[in-house]
Structure formats: structure tokens, C-alpha cells
Symmetry: C2
Subunit: 368 residues, 2 copies
């Protein structure tokens, strides 16, 4: 049995324990995880149908135009069913699944709502829950081969940060730097894992600023948040550079964020078992005690793997202990509206030998 068969069986075990009948997967990281098939989502229904019962065969329902590729990639694991553009794919999905009253069905978390609504009509009384109830715990455990790919993705991110340091200069725009980062990731890895965030000057006070046309000025803090995609796996790193000399408050804020990043890693290393919420608190405490608590307006981190955001989340309310195989970011930040922002982010993974940082680029303040 190949890796996809093993993953399907692991999901089936959990589905039966939680009394789910089917797992329905759209074009997503989950599709790649369970089949190796990597396609883009759009308005056409693409569906993997995984029955909980080991006596039923997994099936794939795909637009006719994807059939040839599917035959090459997944035909050994899934029975293939193609729908032409003039057909109703939801009726075909209903026929393949069978409408057996109040089934409990897991739906891929990122599946488009119009597809869920269409499936809901085809399946009558079915009850839907997010696939993450079963899939997240599988995907949150990275085996050694996955960790090795994530190490490579992390090293690529470190190399790109060095390139950023070399290239940033006054007059360059956010979008120019973003493009340069994208090109560099194509050389250092397969692709970017998400659109780079380049936020300069007052823009840096927005954690998810949309990179724009603003040009860098001397005195700016520049938040650069980006990551590699390498053989399906993501990395994610943020560094905050200063163009010219940082003023005293920038230095103060920077050192608080750097200490929060370090404190979270120390907590991971020093405490045997720690929940996502406790790790969040370890970083947050440093920022709160320095008087900036109200300006740390997001969670401390998120799991990472085939998706750049996945479980486990490092956030208040997540009381699950972090475990071997978990990979996640630690990314405290302080954002002063209209003024500036600082974030320092690394990826960590918990291996059999303890916590390991997958991104290691210089964390001290760099004045360019």
C-alpha cells in the first residue's frame, strides 16, 4: 500500500470512531495529502469521495478535462468518474455516494460554499461537519520525511531573507521588493507559499497589509513576511528591517518583540508539555509586561505544513498539548497604528530530540 492508501486508512479509522460515513475532499492541501493530485480550485466540482467503510472503494469525481491527469496520478487508489461541462456534477456525486438518509459527512474545510450547498441538496438529509475534525490530527503530525522537506523550505526562506537584506534600499517600492522575493523563491525552492507581505513605515502597523506602491524612506521599519513552497510543504518567516537608524522607541519595541520570540522558544525547550494557549501566553507575557499588550493584536502563531495556516493554532483557547510532529510558527508582533510595526517570526517543529527551529535568519535589529 502506498502512502495515500495508508493515509486513507488512518482517516477511515478516525471516521468510524467518530461515526462519520463519508469524507468529501475538494481541490486543496487535503486532496494532495490523500491523493497526490494538485489542481486549482474553481467553480467546477472536483471531489474525492472517501467512504468510512473499508468495503467501499474511494472514488474521484472530476471535470472531464482533468481525467487524463488523474489517470496518471490517482487511478491506482481511486475509481475515476468524469463529468462533462454540460452535466450536473452534484447529481453524479449523489449517485456515487448514495442517499442513505441521515448520513454524517465530513466536508473539506476550504471547499467552496456553492459546492457544499449543491452537495447538500443532492444528499437530502445529510449532516455536514468540517473535515478538520478528522484530518487535522493526521496532518498535524509530520513524519520524518515531511520534517525533512520542511527543513528545506525553511532554509530557502533564510536564504531569501539574506537576499532581501542585500536588495532593500530607499526609493524601492513594496511591490518591487515583493516581486523580487517571489523570483528568488522560484530559484531557492519551487514557489512562494503565500503572497509576500511587504509593509513599510506606517503600513507596517497592519499585520496583513496588502503590499502596495509605497516607496521605502530612510527611517522606515519594513516588515517582510514570506515563505517557500518546497515539494508541497510551506515555510513562513518574518523579519523587520530598519532603513537607516532606528529611533529609541523603535529599538525598544524591536527588543520587546525579539525577547517575546525568544521567550516562546525557551518555554518550548524548558517545559515538558505545553498547550497552544500556554505557548501564546509565554510570548504575550513579555509584550504585556513591557506595556504593549494592547498592540499585539493577533495570536502568537499557527500550524504549518501542506498549508501555511493549519492546526495546531498557538492561541488562547487551544488547550491541546503540543506534541512530537507538530510544526508551527512563533510570530509575536507590536503594531502602533499610523506609526510603525515590528514582527519576528520563525517556524518550529517538535522532533523526537526536542523543539527545533526551521528558520534561523539573524533575529537582532538590522539597520540598513
Amino acid at each position: 500500500m502506498d502512502i495515500y492508501g495508508e493515509r486513507i486508512n488512518a482517516a477511515r479509522d478516525l471516521m468510524r470512531r467518530q461515526s462519520f460515513d463519508y469524507l468529501l475532499i475538494g481541490p486543496s492541501a487535503n486532496m494532495y495529502y490523500f491523493s497526490g493530485l494538485n489542481t486549482s480550485p474553481d467553480e467546477r466540482l472536483q471531489l474525492l469521495i472517501i467512504p468510512a467503510s473499508a468495503e467501499k472503494h474511494p472514488a474521484a469525481l472530476l471535470p472531464e478535462m482533468y481525467l487524463q491527469k488523474a489517470k496518471e496520478v490517482i487511478a491506482s487508489t481511486y475509481s475515476l468518474h468524469a463529468w462533462p461541462d454540460n452535466a450536473d456534477p452534484f447529481a453524479m456525486a449523489g449517485d456515487l455516494i448514495g442517499n442513505n438518509g441521515r448520513m454524517r459527512i465530513l466536508i473539506d474545510d476550504t471547499m467552496r460554499s456553492d459546492h457544499l450547498i449543491g452537495l447538500g441538496k443532492a444528499l437530502g438529509e445529510a449532516e455536514f461537519e468540517p473535515a478538520s475534525l478528522v484530518v487535522s490530527s493526521l496532518r498535524a503530525y509530520k513524519d520524518n520525511s515531511e520534517v525533512e522537506l520542511m527543513r528545506e523550505a525553511g532554509r530557502a526562506a533564510d536564504r531569501v531573507m539574506e537576499k532581501v537584506r542585500e536588495e532593500v534600499k530607499p526609493g524601492m517600492s513594496e511591490s518591487e521588493l515583493s516581486l523580487l522575493i517571489e523570483i528568488e523563491y522560484r530559484q531557492q525552492a519551487d514557489d512562494i507559499s503565500f503572497k509576500p507581505i511587504v509593509a513599510s513605515g506606517p503600513h507596517a502597523a497592519q499585520p496583513h497589509h496588502s503590499t502596495g506602491s509605497r516607496r521605502f524612506e530612510v527611517g522606515d521599519l519594513i516588515v517582510v513576511d514570506c515563505g517557500a513552497l518546497y515539494r508541497g510543504y510551506c515555510s513562513d518567516i518574518t523579519r523587520t528591517f530598519c532603513l537607516g537608524k532606528a529611533d529609541p522607541e523603535m529599538k525598544k519595541v524591536y527588543s520587546v518583540v525579539q525577547e517575546a520570540n525568544a521567550a516562546a522558544f525557551r518555554a518550548l525547550e524548558e517545559r515538558g508539555s505545553l498547550s497552544g494557549e500556554e505557548l501564546d501566553a509565554a510570548a504575550r507575557l513579555v509584550i504585556t509586561e513591557a506595556g504593549y499588550g494592547q498592540y499585539f493584536i493577533h495570536r502568537t502563531g499557527h500550524g504549518i505544513g501542506l498549508e501555511v495556516h493549519e492546526e495546531p493554532y498557538i492561541v488562547e483557547g487551544n488547550r491541546e498539548p503540543l506534541r512530537q510532529g507538530n510544526a508551527f510558527t512563533i510570530e509575536p508582533g507590536i503594531y502602533l497604528p499610523g506609526r510603525f510595526g515590528v514582527r519576528i517570526e520563525d517556524v518550529a517543529v517538535i522532533t523526537g530530540a526536542g523543539p527545533e527551529r526551521l528558520t534561523s535568519y539573524e533575529r537582532g535589529l538590522i539597520e540598513l
Copy 2:
């Protein structure tokens, strides 16, 4: 009232006529259409809440980290509600909407299913339908200012095709050409509208081939499918180049596809009113009569605007007449499995003066 207020009111009229109570929009082209807000979707709930009743104010529920940007962009139209990372956004959405029994609610088509499931639990008895029931007819009509932006996006695509013609050579890989195309679109417009498809040799027989590492060889047909994003609006063009001399069957297939593309445009120009299905048939007839009908394995086209795929679809079953303001692609293709493929795609818009092509790059066979 600004453009967003006008669009909200137009949607409200349609909602009341169809007895819908609320329109719920996630981060998507619809969010941009109704608010000007442009953010990336992820696991955090971002929601515009548009009540059908003009007496209720539209609201936005956003992660706290997006609040600053939202204040700048949408605060004049929407009341703003921020949720911190440790809160339950679905409970907050339920409170904002109010749980009034069997409401009929329109859900953004591309909203993540886990968000729809969360909203469904918060809203108890509500019944959900895709937002496209109301929004598609609004977005499918492009006004003059939108058409002008789409013309610019089309011109950028033409310029990029010229660059492709200059740069393609034996030994270059699909992904190298794809990167070059992306960089060129950043210079010619704002961005790409979708990841370019570069499919060479036997890969060209897959309409949505995932651009890979295959290197071009003399004798390849190379399908290049790409488009610009310009101030929110998309273009989409496909040309098929031949590296070296085309063999007789390639020439035959190419000329059939070119004639199918031309026949569809002639049908648009010559027939007063035409449905999506009739336009599909006009292109398909040429290919079927030439004996390649079974190898034209997708619809003739799709609407285009803020999204690269939207209504109206040029497909069997769409009996709606195409109308002034509609913009859509015409993209017949022939795909011979394991051998080669040809597709020729342009964008058309129906203006007050009749149909107009928005992409015009050379359509005859180009042997490089």
C-alpha cells in the same frame, strides 16, 4: 451615494424580490465589488453582512488585525465589528444577524465550507443559497468604466503574448516561461489574473496542465494561457505556438480551432440575440464537422470580470441570452491525448456598439 452604496441597493432590490433576508460575503471578488476591500481568504472569518431591509445598516465582521485597514476603506458604508483571535466569530455573526427562525440567506459562492457550517450552527433554522443567485446578474453587467479597465487588461495580455513569442526557445522549461510571463504582467499591468498555464508537447493535450519542468523541443506545440489583473479586472488569452515546423496534422487541427474561434465571433456579430449555449454550439459545430468533436472536452468559454471565471458561462444548458455589458471568453480547443493540443482564446464584450474583442494578438499559426 458612492458606487458601493449603489451596488448594495441594487442587490437589496433583487434580494427582496426573491425573498432573501441577508447576503453574507466573504473575502472574494464579491467583497471587492460591494466594499472595495481586498483581502486574502484564510481560516479567519471575514464577513460583510448585507440585510435585504434598507432599514438595517450593512455591517462588517473582521479579525481585529484587519480593523485599521477596514476603517480606511469601508467605514463609511459598513458598521465595523472586530473579533480578536481568542473569540468565537460565528457567535458574533449570529448576534449581528439575529436568529429569526427560518431566514433565507445568500452565501458567497467561494466562502469556505467550514465558515458556512459555522454560520449554519449560529443561525439555527436558516436556509442557505449561493449568493450568485442575486450577485451574478449584477456583476455580469459591466458598465463603461469597467469595460475600459477590461480593455486595458486585454491590451496587457496582447503585449505579454508578443513577449512570449520573442522569448520561447528550445531548452527553456515550462516553469521558466511561466515565471517570465508573471514578471512581464507585473510590468504591463498590476499582476497576473491566474497562474499561467504553459503546456508543451504531449502536456498540451491537458487543458489545465500544471506547468512543470518539461523543456521545449523542436516540433512542440506550446499552449500558453494567461491573463492580466488590472485595477481588479481580469483578462484571459490563450495562444498556441509551434516551435519549429508544424506537421500536417498539427496544421489541420490548428486551422480547425482557429476557424471555431472565428465562427463564434461571427455568430456574435451576425445574430442579434444569442444564448451561451448557442454560442458554444457555434464554435463546437466547426470542430465536430471536422471530425474532432470528441476532443473538444470543455465548454467554449466563461464570463470574466473581477474574477477570471464568472457568469455568463458559454456552455450547453445556458439558455440565457447574452446581453450588453456581458464579457466572456471564447476558447475552443482540440486535445489529442498523449500527442498534442491546440487552444485559441480571446475575451469579448458586448457593448452598445456590438461585440468587441478585448484581446487581439495574432491568431494565425506562428512557427518559431
